[in-house]
Assembly symmetry: C2
Homo-oligomer: 199 residues x 2
DNA sequence: ACCTGAACACCGTTCAAGT
DNA sequence: ACCTGAACACCGTTCAAGT
């Protein structure tokens, strides 16, 4: 028997986050229960309370980890196309769309926490702000190269994020009609959205 | 005693929807339980099953009703400003933002149902499509008056909806930084977003 | 410090029974 | 046809107890 009790040596916390992500991908938001997460990690149903204050805290940790990964994806895409501003904008947005589609339920959870989390989960706040800073930097570069309209970078970045996020949300919730999706590929639809932002 | 058993005379169904909306506004999505809805409507916890197949079906009914009201709001705003295209676009978007902020949890529920609802809740699908048709008509008028870029109305409408929806979502989830919100009013932020769409 | 197991309140759903 | 009440499986959370 190769693995006996590989878990509980101080890494139960991360094992729980990992188990949570897996359950989220398989059973969706409504299927995510603390008891199932504990079972999957091979501990009793009350063990998670040694590492998380409550279910919300576990979800906050899952979201925080998600934002970390999102940052990596966006950042590496931005780096890859940093010499081609026109392409960069589309590719970064495409990375965002793909991240959302890879694990729609996690993506939804990342953007649908409680409102008072501002103060409650500082790590979450820090990580989501780090992402927005990155978007701002990309937008700033695209403003400099004349791809995007000038004006307060903060606000142009909000437009850029908003248009892509809105598109992804409508896509995930099935609010984009079948007739549109049949006629035009996702990639083309996204490119059309980005066009709206261009100067 | 003025009201004794005013409910159960065939309108329990609507009473349950109304109770659900009230609980949603007070306790949020996580506080919405079928048992609480039944209690609030003055019936036993199993009574709802005479009118709805399950909890999802009640939520679908609440969402459908929400889309009906959203349609009314957008439509009356569009009518009111139909002779001033520049203003119309902003006002319609503003109506959308206000609707979302009036009852954030209901708004979130409307846009976060299950994915398979396509076939399961035809009334919901019809109502949400009716809203998109309305957006298309408004966009078409604004294309005609030169406010919005030309091109497939379906796609430009998707951009318009997407940018406003994305903005609202980021707003509701607290993803728009405090520093932005303190410097600029919501109305101004929205106007800036709309500017991005203009020709 | 970390984990277990019993316990409690609450939930969605089913079903036999009442009107 | 519509509603009730008991029942079942499942859930989040607490807490005394074990290591």
């Amino acid at each position: 028997m190769p693995k006996k009790k590989t878990y509980h040596h101080g890494d139960l916390k991360n094992a729980l986050i990992k188990a949570g992500v897996a359950i989220l991908a398989k059973d969706g938001v409504s299927g995510l229960s603390l008891r199932k997460v504990a079972l999957k990690a091979g501990v009793s149903h009350s063990a998670p309370y040694s590492h998380f204050a409550d279910k919300q805290a576990l979800i906050a940790a899952i979201s925080t980890e998600g934002f970390r990964q999102l940052y990596e994806r966006i950042n590496s895409s931005a780096e890859k196309y940093k010499d081609r501003p026109t392409k960069q904008l589309v590719e970064v947005a495409w990375a965002y769309v793909q991240f959302a589609m890879d694990d729609p339920d996690r993506f939804k959870v990342m953007f649908s926490d409680v409102l008072e989390k501002e103060k409650e989960y500082p790590e979450f706040v820090a990580e989501s702000q780090r992402n927005f800073q990155l978007v701002k930097r990309i937008v700033e570069a695209n403003q400099a190269s004349g791809q995007l309209r000038s004006g307060p970078t903060e606000l142009v970045a909000l437009s850029a994020w908003g248009i892509v996020h809105g598109f992804v949300m409508l896509l995930l919730e099935g609010q984009i009609s079948h007739t549109i999706l049949e006629q035009t590929s996702l990639r083309e639809l996204l490119e059309f959205q980005i066009e709206s932002l261009r100067k």
